[in-house]
Symmetry: C2
Subunit: 374 residues, 2 copies
């Protein structure tokens, strides 16, 4: 169990995590690039340091990088000479994972690193907006590669499940960044394109006046700091590009079908997403407690939706990867028994989420899957 | 002032309007295509009829068609032989206006018709979900053509402003349907394309697991009855087609800029919508009262944001249009002084909303404009 945590960056996400950790009895030591949040942070019970170095020297069991993505190389350079890798496991909560792992490798900190990305947040920013409830019932993506040791994974995973009471899935960086592009990065561009389109129209005032619920929902993310959104998109540009072209083709396709009044094709368009509609209907209401999640699944139907996975925690053959090679989790030709990384990555692909550890190598998972389209 | 209103269709919108009217002391007589909501409606104080004919024969000052769009021709055919045009003004709340006016013309009811579309609603449906608060602070689009008499307009507009306490803008059908396509119909297609894209991916379970706020907001409208959405899009297919191609081009453009890592072009994309961001920042918070709206504007800045318009209520030269001709409100070559229709349509283009009538031909308007993009 983590008893002391180091938080780098006391913005909305880092500040909320710090306050959540405090609530669960963990000591929190934190550094921020400026000391503007320190007074409020100290009032909340957080120990604030003058440097990243000072934070590292306190030897917290876990250091969580909650700083802006652009500051990552600098923070890692400051940590590298002083971080006690025996005592401390390093993680981060960045919204893109491949680039962070590369920077961690470059700083020579790969051996104590596990990536993480909590699915939490809101449109506000800064420590003043922080809220320990922000992490309630959050799902975390935990990113590993073939060289990640099980002990490091366990440090992060048990902090998430036991101490925060959250859920997690395990992915490689590529799968994470591709999925994040689908559900966040690409949608941010689409939302932004919508407000651009409105502004470009002669009838912009009429359109803005008529805008109601659907427009408000679909453009909310375009209203948040466009510079931050742009940085996020540029970090994941290859995935975003592919998805934008995919979306453009889908919209052109509907336009073509409307042009020729092909009702059959229009109708088909409106049913393609039925598997996702069914997935949402089967999900527990937002903000429901863990108990409610369990109950929904208990009454969910004939198929068992909770089961156990026993993990193969033997180190794999790939324990010394080169700094820039990220062995895919799914192509371990040499292994007879899949590694824990592969077991958990395929579990995530099946729609399973880790709810809790029953012992150090047995996890309980909940299944919440989108059926294959017809 | 309206003392008796007839409501055709007791779904979410019609039911909510009926209950709102009752609250303000108006007698409500209603018909629904089946009598399933009648028990609850009668308990609420609504007089329910066995036929559209019976409703018309009660001679309410206002009949509001709140039925489904596909039922419009049948309802109009039932009304035509019995509606007392001297006693009753006819309006509707359909989300597309050109097609409804055409159907009204075909039924021979154009002389007593004014179109309307309240910007209100939620994801629920049916009388059981109805709520008089649904119309709180709503903006209504009121649609007229060159043949609409000022008296008919006044019947609808004063009901909206004086009796419901809502705001309105005046448009022709073409301007309405184009703007509605921008802020509602096209976004519904975009949202649907996003869930289709997710379902088509191999990593659909991972993407669905990671989905958080931005995805939830942007796909909410894709989850509501896709058949209803499809009907709405098909009724406005020409405008939607143009906008979908516009959106597709914008997305391809960003994809191209990301492909060549053209940071300048990506940056420009993220600032194009700044006029809309400024517009939202200057708007009163959602759900704020009329008093709050007035206050925000009173403190809004140097420019006066409330002013008066005196309307030219003389009938224009075009009082006998043919059934299928809709004279544009902005091209009255013969008129020396713009007609009230033209005055109000250009007022809407400037971002003005009618707050109240000061007398029968003077309106007070509030300006809420999106500045022209740089």
């Amino acid at each position: 169990m983590v008893t002391t945590i180091g938080i780098v960056g006391l913005g909305l996400m880092g500040g909320s995590l710090a306050r959540r950790a405090l609530e669960t009895g963990i000591d929190v030591i934190a550094w921020n690039h400026d000391d503007s949040p320190y007074r409020a942070a100290r009032d909340a019970g957080i120990t604030c340091t003058n440097s990243v170095r000072e934070l590292a020297l306190a030897r917290p069991q876990l250091v969580v990088l909650c700083n802006a993505l652009h500051a990552m190389p600098e923070v890692l350079r400051a940590l590298a000479p002083v971080l006690d890798r025996g005592a401390t496991t390093l993680t981060d909560i960045g919204s893109v994972k491949a680039v962070v792992r590369r920077q961690v490798h470059e700083a020579g900190l790969a051996d104590c690193y596990v990536g993480a990305h909590p699915m939490a947040g809101n449109e506000h920013s800064g420590f003043t907006a922080s809220d320990p409830r922000l992490y309630d019932d959050a799902l975390w993506a935990v990113t590993v590669d073939g060289s990640t040791t099980y002990r490091r994974f366990l440090d992060v995973a048990q902090f998430i499940t036991r101490q925060l009471g959250d859920r997690l899935i395990v992915l490689d960086d590529i799968a994470h960044d591709r999925a994040a592009a689908t559900i966040s990065h690409m949608p941010h561009v689409v939302s932004t394109a919508m407000i651009n389109l409105l502004c470009a129209q002669d009838n912009r005032n009429i359109a803005a006046a008529l805008a109601a619920g659907s427009w408000r929902d679909m453009t909310r993310v375009a209203l948040t700091d466009p510079a931050r959104t742009r940085a996020m998109i540029e970090e994941d540009r290859e995935n975003v590009e592919v998805l934008l072209r995919d979306m453009a083709a889908r919209l052109e396709d509907v336009a073509d079908a409307l042009h020729v009044a092909d009702e059959r094709r229009v109708a088909a368009f409106f049913t393609q997403g039925d598997p996702f509609r069914a997935y949402v209907r089967a999900s527990p209401p937002r903000g429901s407690s863990r108990a409610a999640v369990d109950t929904v699944d208990a009454v969910g139907g004939a198929q068992p939706t909770m089961h156990r996975l026993t993990l193969n925690t033997q180190p794999s053959a790939h324990t010394q990867p080169s700094a820039h090679m990220q062995p895919s989790l799914n192509t371990e030709a040499s292994a007879q028994v899949p590694s824990w990384q592969t077991q958990l990555a395929t579990s995530a692909e099946r729609g399973e989420q880790i709810i809790r550890f029953l012992d150090d190598r047995t996890v309980e998972v909940l299944t919440r899957a989108v059926r294959e389209p017809a």
